[in-house]
Symmetry: D2
Subunit: 149 residues, 4 copies
């Protein structure tokens, strides 16, 4: 559906992902990348829960934000980095499971802004439950830029 501007887009995504310390802290990994689409995985960890023992909404959001950001980044030209402008997350069910999957998909890729949507699933005893959705706006910024401006 989308044509990547950079044939090496998968390599670029893996490289940027590996530079995030949060991904190794959360043992987050890339399952699959396609132009404008990505799937990430994260195991449950006792160290990232809220008061009821479920994974904290902010950690689920971390996975969703990465799914949106790297889905957008996969379509960007070489000289651009990706920055999150804003996102909304809706929590449909408790983040309860052994493993979590985050899928991101570009809705519209523009020169400056990219609109992306993502879904989070909990995997518990082989069953996959939709637990959260994200709607996000990502921005392409020239490398070394430090913020939305």
């Amino acid at each position: 559906m989308f044509t990547p501007q950079n044939p090496d887009y998968q390599k670029r995504v893996h490289h940027s992902f590996a530079q995030q310390t949060i991904t190794s802290t959360l043992s987050m990994s890339i399952d699959e990348i396609q132009p404008g689409q990505i799937s990430l995985a994260m195991p449950f960890a006792e160290t990232h829960t809220q008061q009821h023992g479920f994974v904290h909404a902010g950690i689920i959001t971390t996975g969703l934000d990465n799914a949106c950001g790297y889905a957008a980044f996969s379509l960007m030209a070489d000289q651009y980095e990706v920055l999150t402008i804003e996102f909304k997350t809706s929590f449909l069910a408790p983040a309860q499971g052994q493993r979590f999957v985050f899928t991101g998909k570009v809705k519209k890729a523009g020169r400056t802004l990219t609109f992306v949507e993502a879904e989070a699933y909990a995997i518990a005893d082989q069953q996959r439950t939709l637990i959260a959705t994200m709607s996000a706006t990502m921005m392409a910024v020239a490398q070394r830029a430090k913020g939305p401006d």
Copy 2:
């Protein structure tokens, strides 16, 4: 401005906060609680950054979500827990600093739903910069309930 239904609201907030493993993982602490308001703090940590070395948007969101959730929780009666229904986060500036502060404030407290807003600040070399804002909906659920329904 708000009258807490539970005179022990501060104790309840501290107790629930301490049950979150994520708060100790992130070294997050409570600075101040008032009815419908809270201020949280978190130091910078190398383990929670995105690809440019700033704190990850999802971790900033974790602080904002806690600020919104516990601001709402401070007004709830004894038999209720708080659950996040949804939030939107806007990222105004990079999360760059030695320390981060998250302030939450209830806009409207209802029987079932509470609307809350929060702001995140980065403290770098004594200077405080607004880096993110959140608008959230929180829900009061009878204790031991497991989800938004």
Copy 3:
């Protein structure tokens, strides 16, 4: 996918829709209703534009909100009305066309809250363009209730 609690759900949706004066002001109509899904249509009108001559974002949002609200309402039991708690709208392309279509689809229907997504399309010279997306939270309230509480 969803089983309506009320076999007369289509009639109920049509009845409630007809009680909105805004729908006749905007010449909005129902194209199709299924359990948890709806499609609405609206012609372009010179009276509802913003400064560049496109349909105003708030009017596109009116269609999206109705699509979300009635998709949710189609699954609710007889004694409930639907209220909008919050929504986010993303604007992907200008609202330029002869006709607009709004499709709403329930993501998760709970006892109290229903999460819904909607898309807005502009139809110009036979071509259909995705112009906006909405992510919304709807609430079931006992009839004659006047607000989210």
Copy 4:
């Protein structure tokens, strides 16, 4: 707090506002403009209600979007127009009143993007009630541009 790039910012806002047909359809008017801030007013009208006789959420959103858009526009240089990228609206109380007021205030003005917040109030029998809040992202685009890209 903000310094307008254009000393004629008030005139520019009034001019752009007057080009919107929706503002006259809704009898919306500008109460006050300051750099990065605006206040709008709208009377109740029978023609813009939802199924319970309150003003439709989309019409309240129209006022909030204008408040955000023109608060942002007041700070932009001459060659730029303002476009709405996205917004989230939270509905705190029913839109019931004789008159409605919308106040918008810039949180952060950047070269390309401006983050804005707005509040909607219902005025009923002299009493002012906060009924809705908006968090929005606005974009500066060179004149005659037709969309977010």
